[in-house]
């Protein structure tokens, strides 16, 4: 099963049970930061009367996994994008590149690592739900197979079209994510970027990187050719000069 989280903002009452459960599951310090940090992996933000959860979107084609030079991020077949702290060198390209500004750093530590939600990958492996989904008292956060979550989201949009903005956020953004969201107000008003491309971002750098073999091959041949031609010309000139000197 490819797991995904469905967050329905219309059901969220801002109780922060998810925040608390996440803190406990991951042994994070109890203090709750208003925005995501290395020590708070999910937050609930209030916009007027609506609530929105912020957490790792667990993209289908994760930008963090693409940019990390040492492959510290990996998209698991079961859904989560997980981070291997033992590989991380601390270049912070993931933090710079993530379209959702999710990965955060332990700036206060002498030996820091990146931290973010991991969709409770170990719990999922054990057949359980992520902690946030397990404790949500209203069912605003639920967990299941991604296709089933999409179906559920579609069903809700169909059943109560006036209650929702007709969009499943995460269905297609940056190639799709494993955290899907529904909302009654435009996502932009919830602080979610409306302008992300629908194609995965890694494609942008791959366009440049895929040219490397060509540059090596063509460049090498070209440079060698230049040397060969110019060198030959000099040698010919020298030979001609020598001959002229002999004669003269």
């Amino acid at each position: 099963m490819k797991g995904a989280i469905l967050f329905d903002s219309t059901k969220c009452i801002g109780c922060e049970a998810c925040v608390a459960a996440c803190k406990e599951k991951n042994n994070l310090p109890a203090m709750i930061d208003p925005k995501l940090t290395a020590y708070t992996w999910t937050v609930v933000e209030q916009r007027n009367t609506a609530f929105i959860r912020r957490l790792c979107m667990h993209c289908e084609s994760p930008t963090c996994a693409s940019v990390c030079p040492v492959e510290a991020f990996r998209k698991e077949p079961s859904g989560p994008v997980i981070y291997d702290a033992s590989r991380c060198i601390g270049c912070r390209y993931c933090i710079m590149a993530c379209p959702f500004d999710v990965p955060k750093y332990q700036w206060d530590r002498a030996v820091p690592i990146v931290q973010k939600c991991d969709m409770c990958a170990d719990r999922i492996k054990a057949g359980q739900q992520p902690a946030c989904a397990a404790v949500c008292p209203t069912g605003a956060t639920i967990f299941g197979d991604r296709d089933e979550m999409i179906q559920e989201a579609r069903a809700r949009l169909e059943a109560a079209p006036k209650a929702y903005v007709p969009k499943i956020y995460g269905l297609e953004e940056v190639g799709g994510t494993s955290v899907l969201m529904l909302s009654s107000i435009p996502f932009a008003s919830l602080g979610i970027r409306p302008d992300l491309p629908l194609t995965p971002l890694p494609a942008l750098t791959w366009k440049a990187l895929s040219k490397v073999p060509d540059i090596v091959g063509v460049g090498g041949a070209l440079l060698y050719g230049i040397w060969w031609i110019t060198n030959r010309r000099i040698r010919v000139q020298e030979a001609l000069a020598q001959e002229a000197a002999k004669k003269g």
């Binding site: 030996v111 890694p202 750098t205 040397w227």
Partner: protein, 417 residues
């Protein structure tokens, strides 16, 4: 007896000059900052944050540092691939600058990385889809190439003829590999930013970022050769080889013009120039970068009378370097601030460490010039210390009249004082 000793010692001890004092202050401050950085972490020593994870140490030390060391691949290509042997005298100082430049970049990285003791991870943990992986490998390999290109100078000093000859023999392939590696990583430093089209300001974001970074690096490398020659002239009383540097100035006009046209064309095509009618913060920085750093040097260096004179040439080159630094900082800082939602300015510690590394580079350059045959045709007499006798006595292979040979060995060219 002691007074005599003291007198002798004071004669041999270099006097304290202004720049030496500056170096000592920077070195001391830099050391303090280094200790703080590794004991207290990045948060305590930098103004970096989750909103702004890359600052001065990446924007200046790495991005700008790598570009300013680009003279290494351009001049070696000119001499060894295009076979323009008359430029041989500037090979040694340029390769030295490039090598020191890359060492500077790697040192700076060791401070910026969160876990620098793991920098070797890229050797065994691969992600070929990552631009940073490609940059890491290319920089590692190219620094090795530079070390090899520099080694004949050291072998000469140590009178190790055989190793010198071995490196000589592979000089052309080495230069080819060096040019390819440089092309790859100079452009890839630009490619790093391809993945943030929604974050980098449209005045700097472009699918052509790798091309912009590469072309501007060529211009910067040429400019650095000119400026570095001017600095050597002041420091070591060398004569400025105007006959060699002036053509570089002319080449800069061509390269900068290509760069300028590419940039403007790309911006026009994407409709990004419209915002310049009433430029805000980003617009002003852009105009400054392009006007002061691209247009003005082009104009200055295009005028033969300006270019043929040392002040004009050096000013033009210096402006180009300024423009280059501005471009890199605009891409990494200015262009990223709006999306980040924070205004970033480096902490005094970030600035201090960067300056200390630059100062160390200058100091290493000076030491290299003193103890290695970088300018064997013009041994320096800086600060009242004579060049050691062994440096003045040249090995037989370096006697004037020998044919121009591969890396690092200067011929005795005409037109050199």
């Amino acid at each position: 007896m002691r007074k005599d000793e003291e007198a002798m010692n004071s004669r041999r001890w270099p006097e304290m000059t202004f720049w030496r004092l500056v170096f000592l202050v920077l070195a001391a401050t830099g050391t303090v900052v280094a200790v703080l950085r590794f004991t207290r972490g990045l948060g305590a020593t930098t103004n970096l944050s989750d909103h702004f994870p890359w600052g001065l140490w990446i924007g200046f030390d790495v991005l700008t540092g790598v570009g300013l060391a680009a003279g290494g691949f351009t001049i070696t290509a000119v001499v060894y691939l295009f076979n323009l042997k008359r430029f041989t005298p500037i090979i040694r100082p340029t390769v030295l600058t490039a090598f020191l430049g890359y060492v500077f970049v790697i040192l700076a990285l060791l401070f910026d990385l969160g876990q620098p003791h793991r920098i070797w991870h890229a050797l065994v943990m691969w992600n070929p889809r990552s631009v940073m992986f490609e940059v890491a490998w290319c920089v590692m390999l190219y620094t090795t190439v530079l070390a090899l290109e520099f080694s004949p100078i050291v072998f000469e000093r140590l009178n190790l003829e055989r190793p010198r000859r071995i490196v000589r023999a592979i000089s052309v392939p080495l230069v080819i590999v060096g040019v390819i590696l440089s092309t790859l990583h100079q452009s890839s430093l630009g490619s790093l930013y391809l993945i943030v089209p929604h974050k980098l300001h449209p005045l700097w974001y472009s699918p052509l970022l790798p091309v912009f970074f590469f072309v501007s690096a060529i211009a910067a490398g040429l400019a650095m050769v000119i400026v570095e020659s001017a600095l050597c002239q002041r420091a070591f009383n060398h004569h400025l080889k105007m006959d060699l540097l002036e053509p570089l100035g002319r080449a800069m006009v061509v390269v900068l013009s290509i760069y300028g046209i590419l940039r403007v064309q790309d911006l026009a095509r994407r409709g990004a120039l419209l915002g310049l009618r009433r430029p805000g913060y980003e617009g002003s920085m852009f105009l400054l970068e392009m006007g002061l750093g691209v247009l003005l040097p082009i104009i200055l260096l295009a005028i033969p009378r300006v270019r043929a004179r040392q002040p004009g040439l050096v000013t033009g080159a210096f402006l180009a370097i300024l423009g280059f630094v501005m471009h890199r900082l605009n891409v990494s800082v200015t262009g990223m601030e709006r999306a980040a939602g924070v205004a970033y300015f480096p902490s005094w510690m970030e600035i201090a460490l960067s300056l200390a590394l630059v100062a160390a580079g200058f100091a290493m350059f000076g030491l290299a010039v003193r103890y290695l045959p970088i300018f064997p045709e013009a041994p320096h007499r800086a600060s009242g210390v004579e060049a050691p006798a062994w440096l003045l006595a040249r090995p037989a292979s370096m006697v004037a009249g020998g044919s121009p040979e591969p890396i690092g060995q200067p011929s005795a060219p005409a037109g050199m004082e």
